[in-house]
Amino acid sequence: MSDLAVRTEDVWKIYPQEPEPVQAVRGLTLEIERGDFVAMAGPSGSGKTTVLNLLGGLTDATRGRIWIGGEELTGMSERERAKLRLERIGFVFQAYNLLPVLTALENAEFTLLLRGLPKEERHARVHGLFREIGLEGLADRRPGRLSGGQQQRVAVARAVVADPALVLADEPTANLDSVTSDALLDTMERLNREHGTTFVFSTHDPRVMERARRLIMLVDGQIEADERRAPVRGGAATA
């Protein structure tokens, strides 16, 4: 098995737009190790979200190749990509992350349910995770009755509950206040540390950048800087 969680080779994403096509990602070549905690930063329109969508198989590369955990994503059928997402990738989005028709517990267990795990195991895993990240007692609440921070933590729980090789987080702290952001980052950092889950963030948030072990700067769809840094721990795991 590859030691790389992500590998890309000359990946381009071009949107056919009038009057001129938009080159959102230009020749991205990148390797991310398993268990890394990587932030991709850059100005708006630099291609951060597009890179995450490409890595998650949510959009097709115009050209180039992408491997997730050693498995080549480019060229996969839609069904194969859906399977890959289900089994190996977790997503955390900026906001409105949860399925509004499901409770916190049902949202968090969703990928396990799709994988066909028995109810007892699903609930045991989710409740265990909820305890770890301070969501005890909120399992039966619908997203509308959770705060923004609680919703994001449920989204994180959903992203990591199935032990994916990779979690892609698109500006997860963008709509959170600083205290809630710190608590969420604590949670993700701890999950990274204790479970070895690889996290890749797109972010504008300096707090995320500070905590990243690797910071990749994107400008106009290209890597402008790629800096490996000493990890910055944000304190004890949040409750």
């Binding site: 949510l58 839609e78 997402r85 989005f93 409105y96 399925l99 028709v101 349910l113 799709l114 066909g116």
Partner: protein, 420 residues
């Protein structure tokens, strides 16, 4: 397992968007309720037309000799033995077939003459006792009385005929017709009663007389031109006709006809009216389909991000489409059930005794040989209701297909940009 997940998501989707679901359901419920109401009323109206026409005509099922329907001539009659066999078959099958009653008739075209005039008429020899329960002539009585058992040289005539022949109850007049031997024979009869039906062809051209008198006069002992059978409801006609034909077999030399064959004009009238209803139903179905399409499509467009998340979680585009499709189906099925119950409840609750249209029409109207009653009693046919529900489900499915397709084709990356 995944199917159950999709089902659960769809059910929650319907439940969560309660207002949207209720509005969509309301359109479908109203549509189906209206459909059931109009169908019941239409079928009730048809049932009345048919009932009226067959009671005054040759019954829901007519047993005749071959050739009689085409010629109407006495030479194509059932002899006494055939009448006996027919009656025996009817009596033996009556309890299981829903046969209301039966009556023998000996009909012949002839002439009615009085001192005032001579007019062509249809002369029907009837069994007074049986006819009283079969046809509705007794209720159309204008003067005098209907025929009775034991009557001999008595006649029951239409009001217009009586007026033209200048006849009153108790007056005598002569009926002339070709007898079985081919000779033209006359028969003096006395007016026992006068009727008015609102069907002009009956009022000015029909004479009832006791069948035994007619048989004796025409030289056709024991014979009948038709043994008419009444069933309830009329939708059982084909079944009864088939059973009777089976029981009588081909070697008896009789022919069994349903009312659609024996009364082609009435059949055409009912069919034409049915086509009118079908057009109305198609319009109604189209409105319901648009309501479903609109609601489900708006829901899909408004929940793009939700579907994007589902895709990110590992659902395929097809599965996302299936969720939307099931939502549409659930909505349709639930609305179908509620609409059906409401349609029944409304129709039965308010109009079980009939919907009175007498303010919109003359008290007496006729159509294709049947008297139209201004009070229409709804008639529910399970088959019609099931067909309506079936169509609702079909259009619900079809109307959900396009939104489902849209959902399945959503680009998840684009969908995630959508602010819910």
């Amino acid at each position: 397992m995944r199917v159950l997940v999709l089902l659960r998501l769809a059910a929650r989707g319907v439940g969560r968007n309660a207002r949207r679901s209720m509005l969509t359901a309301a359109a479908m419920v109203l549509g189906l309720a209206l459909l059931i109401f109009s169908r019941a009323l239409s079928d009730g109206g048809h049932e009345q037309w048919i009932d009226s026409a067959v009671r005054m005509g040759s019954g829901h099922v007519a047993i005749q000799a071959p050739g009689y329907l085409e010629t109407g001539k006495l030479e194509h009659r059932l002899d006494g033995e055939q009448v006996g066999v027919a009656v025996e078959a009817i009596e033996s099958l009556a309890p299981e077939l829903g046969v209301l009653t039966w009556a023998p008739r000996l009909s012949v075209n002839g002439l009615a003459s009085s001192a005032a005039s001579a007019l062509p008429v249809r002369i029907e020899g009837v069994d007074p006792g049986r006819e009283a329960t079969f046809s509705d002539f007794e209720s159309k009585l204008q003067e005098g009385r209907y025929l009775q058992a034991g009557d001999g040289l008595h006649a029951f005539v239409g009001a217009e005929l009586a007026r033209r022949l200048d006849l009153e109850v108790g007056n005598r007049f002569v009926l002339t017709a070709q007898s079985a031997s081919g000779d033209v024979e006359g028969q003096l009869v006395r007016v026992a009663g006068i009727f008015r039906t609102a069907v002009m062809e009956l009022d000015e051209g029909l004479v009832h007389m006791p069948i035994e008198t007619a048989r004796s006069w025409l030289g056709t002992e024991g014979a009948a031109t038709t043994v008419a059978v009444l069933v309830e409801p009329s939708v059982r006609t084909d079944g009864v006709a088939a059973q009777l034909a089976g029981r009588l077999g081909s070697d008896t030399g009789v022919r069994v006809l349903g009312w659609r064959e024996s009364s082609p004009d009435l059949d055409s009238a009912v069919r034409i009216d049915d086509y009118g209803d079908y057009i109305f139903h198609i319009i109604l179905f189209a409105i319901i389909a648009l309501a479903i399409l609109n609601a489900v499509l708006i829901s899909v467009l408004g929940r793009r991000r939700e579907f994007g998340i589902l895709r990110a979680m590992g659902l395929t585009g097809f599965e996302t489409g299936v969720v939307v499709f099931i939502e549409g189906l659930l909505l349709t099925a639930a609305s179908g059930v509620v609409g059906m119950v409401l349609g029944f409840a409304f129709t039965w609750g308010f109009f079980r005794d009939g919907l009175d249209f007498s303010g919109l029409m003359d008290s007496e109207m006729s159509f294709s040989g049947s008297v139209i009653d201004p009070v229409i009693v709804p008639f529910f046919q399970l088959q019609q209701v099931l067909v309506s529900v079936y169509f609702i489900l079909i259009i619900g499915s079809l109307a959900s297909l396009y939104p489902a397709l849209r959902a399945s084709k959503l680009d998840p990356a684009e969908a995630m940009k959508f602010e819910q």
